[in-house]
Structure formats: C-alpha cells, structure tokens
C-alpha cells in the first residue's frame, strides 16, 4: 500500500468517524439496551421490584388483544395511506412532469404539505372535521350531525386523509425523479406504432419506473408503519384507533413500564425489519437507488 493510499484512508476514516459514532450512539446502543430491558421486570413506579423475567414481557404483549388490535390498526392505516398515495402521487408526478405551464406554482404548493409540522397538519384536519369548529359537516352530501371522531373507522378516515395530504408530495417527488429518467423517444416510437396514452403508461412508464416505485413504496410504508403524531393529536388512541407506536409510548412514557414497553419497541423494530426485508428480497427493490426521507 502506498503512502498516499494509506494517508487517504486515514483521512477518510477520520472524516467519517464523528457521524458514524453519532448515528450508532442513538440507535445500536439503545436498541441493544431495549432488548435488555424487555427481558426484565422494570416498572419505574415500583422501582424495588424487578429482575430477569425471560420472555414473560413478550408473552404478555403477544397474548394481549390490545397488541393485535393496534397491529391491525397500524397495518390497515399503512396499507390504505400508501395505496392512495401511490395513485395520487403518480397523478401528481405526471402533472408536474407534463405541465406546460405553472410548474413552479405546483411545486411550491405541494412542498407546503411536505414541510408543514405533522402535528400542525393533524390539528388543521381535526378542526376541519370536528362537528363544532369544522366546515366539513356543512358541505353538501355530508350529514351535519356526523361525529367523525366518535367512531373507529370514521376516525381512521380523517387520520388517513391527513396522512395522505401530508406525505403524498414526497411520494410524488420520488416518482417524478424516476419519471424524468425515461427516454422520451420511447413514447414517440410507441405513438408512431399507434399505442394509446393508457398503453404508453402501462407498457412504458410503469415497467421502467418499477425501481423508483418500489423505493418510494418502501420508504413510505416504513414511515406509515410508524404513524404516531396524527393519531396522538386526533384521538389519542380513543375509539380503538391506537397504533403500535402509541401503545409503545403509553407503556414507556405514560405508564413508565419500561419492561413491557421495551418488548413492544423491540417487536416494532422486528416488524420494520421484516417489511424492509420483504421489499428488498421479495420485490427486488434496489436499495442503492434509494434515499432516506
């Protein structure tokens, strides 16, 4: 190894070390610590009790109806928001790509939901749908008496709308980035061969965008699985609308039961890992093409 290569490596490692340490400090160590806590009976309200309890916390979580209901809620919200976002995001990407004018205006408008604080967005939608302060119940076709936050699935409807509003722009921008890499000549050739607009979309656009779509779906699915802020603001989990993240928060911070809460945390971590694995191995998403959002 030449002197120069060696000094280049040394410089590279020195430059990377602080960021790598900062990233490991708050992820690798805490998740290891969470595993340790999850195997113990740690309840800060009863600090004198405790000790190693093996997998008891996991048994308690996995046999509770609450965990499975929250898991259903989380997966339900994840699948619906991501599906709606994919369709809307694709439409939005096509509008931004093909717009003959007003591109800057559209881009500015869609970046506002992206940038806005999730809690603020949740309040905006809550105020709009709430029966006393809202305007939605005054719209035609909607009952004036509709109590959106009084029922489980009507609450989900508002939660999902707020999530879709907030995150569709990000999905659209990721899809747009995939769209611009497609060679326009392909469309011209297909047109000459008599392909309709729909055929051009399904036979050219979709197959060529598969990598971009998979990466966008992966990032948005993982993000949607962590849903917390919107539910916390709108219902705090009332009407059986809790997500697994809310369950974890309630056990850890509200009830100070670090043992049970850590078991929930570790299980959420495993779920996220499995979702990522499914996309990468099962669907062949190429992660090098991805980016963190």
């Amino acid at each position: 190894m030449s002197q120069r290569t060696r000094s280049e490596r040394k410089l590279a490692w020195m430059l990377c070390a602080p960021a790598v340490l900062a990233m490991l400090l708050v992820t690798a160590y805490p998740i290891a610590y969470a595993v340790v806590l999850s195997l113990q009976d740690v309840d800060l309200r009863f600090p004198e009790e405790g000790g190693f309890v093996g997998l008891d916390n996991y048994t308690a979580v996995l046999t509770s109806e609450l965990w499975w209901m929250d898991m259903f809620n989380t997966v339900f919200i994840m699948l619906t928001t991501v599906a709606i976002e994919l369709v809307l995001g694709m439409a939005l990407a096509l509008v931004m790509y093909r717009a003959i004018f007003g591109r800057g205006l559209v881009r500015t408008a869609v970046l506002i939901p992206y940038g806005i604080i999730t809690v603020v967005a949740a309040f905006a939608w809550q105020f709009a749908f709430s029966p006393d302060t809202g305007f939605v119940n005054g719209l035609p076709l909607i009952s004036d008496e509709m109590d959106w936050f009084g029922g489980r699935f009507s609450s989900f409807a508002v939660i999902i709308m707020a999530e879709v509003w907030k995150t569709t722009p990000f999905m659209a921008l990721l899809l747009l980035a995939g769209l611009v890499t497609i060679d326009r000549q392909l469309y011209e050739a297909a047109k000459v061969d008599g392909a309709s607009a729909w055929q051009r979309f399904t036979k050219i656009t979709l197959p060529l965008m598969k990598p971009a779509i998979l990466v966008a779906l992966l990032f948005r699915s993982l993000d949607a699985f962590r849903v917390f802020d919107t539910i916390f603001v709108m219902t705090r989990g009332a009407q059986d609308t809790e997500s697994v993240s809310i369950l974890g928060f309630n056990q850890l911070i509200s009830r100070l039961n670090l043992g049970l809460g850590s078991a929930v945390s570790v299980l959420i971590f495993i779920c996220v890992f499995l979702i990522a694995l499914l996309f990468v191995k099962g669907l062949g998403a190429k992660l090098e093409e991805g980016r963190p959002g």
Binding site: R9, A12, W13, L15, C16, P18, A19, V20, A22, L25, V26, T27, P30, I31, A34, I100, F101, G102, G104, V106, T108, A109, I112, P113, G115, I116, I117, T118, V119, V120, F123, A124, A128, D132, T133, F135, W165, F170, L173, L174, A177, G178, T181, V215, L222, R226, F228, D229, V233, G248, F249, L252, I253, L258, S265, I268, V272, R291, P292, G293
Partner: protein, 281 residues
Amino acid sequence: MEQRGARDYTLWSIAILLVVMFALIPVLWLVSVSLKTPEAVTDGRFIPADISFDNYKSLFEGGIDESPFIKPLINSIVIALITTVIAITLAAFTAYAIARLEFPGKRVILAGALAIAMFPPISTVGPLFDMWRALGLYDTYLGLIIPYLTFSLPLAIYVLVAFFREIPWELEQAAQVDGATPFQAFTKVIVPLAAPGVFTAAILVFIFCWNDFLFAISLTSSDASRTVPAALAFFTGESSFTQPTGSIAAAAVVVTIPIIVFVLFFQRRIVAGLTAGAVKG
C-alpha cells in the same frame, strides 16, 4: 391544432387548480380559524365574518414567563439551529470522504445510514428516556439535539453525497498541484462550490427537527426544553371551559411561516435535495 392547444390549456389549468387547492385548503382553514373570535369559532364559516388578532396577541401575552408559546418557540428555533449546524458539519465530512476518497467501509457507512433512516424512533424512546434521566439529559436541549442529530444525519449524508458527486473535482486537484494539502483543497476550493448543496441539506435537516413530535413529548417535561409541536399538544384554554382551538390555530400558523418562506424562496433546491440520489441517473 390550435383547438387542441386551447383544450390542453384548459385541462392543465384545472389540474393545476386542483393540486393547488388540495395543498392549500387545510392551511387556509387554519389561518381562518386563527382569525376568528371565540364566539365565532364554531360557526363553520370558511371566511371569518369578523377578523380578530386576539388569538395571536394571547400567544405572546405576559412575555417569556407567562406566555405558553414564546419559550417553546425559542426552544424549537435554538434546538433546530444547533442540530442543523452540527449535522451538516459532520455530514459534510462524511459525504466528502464518500464522494472523493477511496477507502474500505464506504458501502457499509452508506448502508448503515440507510438502515438508520428506516429505523423506528419509538424503539429508542424507552432506552433514551431511562438513560437521559440517569445522565441528567432528560428535559434539556442536549437531550433532544442528540437523537435529532442521529436521525437527520442519514438524510444529510445522502443529499450531500449526491451534490458532492456533481462538483468539478479537477479544481481540487489543481489546488493540490499548486501545493495545497488535501485539507486546504477541501476548505478553500470545495466548500464554496459545495455551498448550494450544503444549504439544501441544511433546510431539510431544519425541517426534520422542526417537525419532530415523538422525542419532543417523550424526552421533555417542561417549558425548559419543550418544543412547539409538543407544547401545542398540551395547550389549554383560558379556563377549563374554553377550548384552546383559536390559540392552537394561531400558534400553528406562526410555526408554519418559516416553512412557507423556505418553500417560496428555495423550492427548486428543496426538490433537488429531496430527489437527490433517488434514482441513479
């Protein structure tokens, strides 16, 4: 042909109008609620009958000690700014090494950063809560800055690597031929060229910190370090019989202003940053 042009024009106008309405109506609704008087807040009108700035005044009433909003606002700004400066500095070093230097471990760092971007923050909340209480970091600025730094670094690194790969590096070699050390070449030649990318990454990191709610409610317990999103969730009315709707709306509008400023002035950059490296071109 001309007819088709006119039809296209109308269709696009409608499409653009729909998109803009979709994006703006919830924001305009917040503005509307924030300008209503307490009596009018339940009237359901989209445009307030009487415009009142009382909700805004009440946010700032009583100065830093009494106001429920000023301290959290200061906390949000200071914490987001400090995190942004540190995150961008560390990420710039790393991104420079990854874009420019040959060394084993490069792919591992990129893959690790990506893994952290997917990491569920709730899984770290319990351990951090316990550790921060033991270390005295609970309810302090540093207690929030550390997790924000961790979770914004992957974003910053990816954006900066994408930008740094586009920089004309011959200039750096030219500087080194002229006798500059690698470090001088970095600070004197590359930093000015990299400034636009660095600025973009900084905006995205700032937005990330500004937005966080989970850590903010889990790792703070008072106005000593509570940021705006957390404070909003704990807002109370003037008495237990009044809903704080108006105050929440006004506070929400105030913290949305910086985002709108960023978006209006830097939309091109933000889009470039968000899609940087999304697809290898």
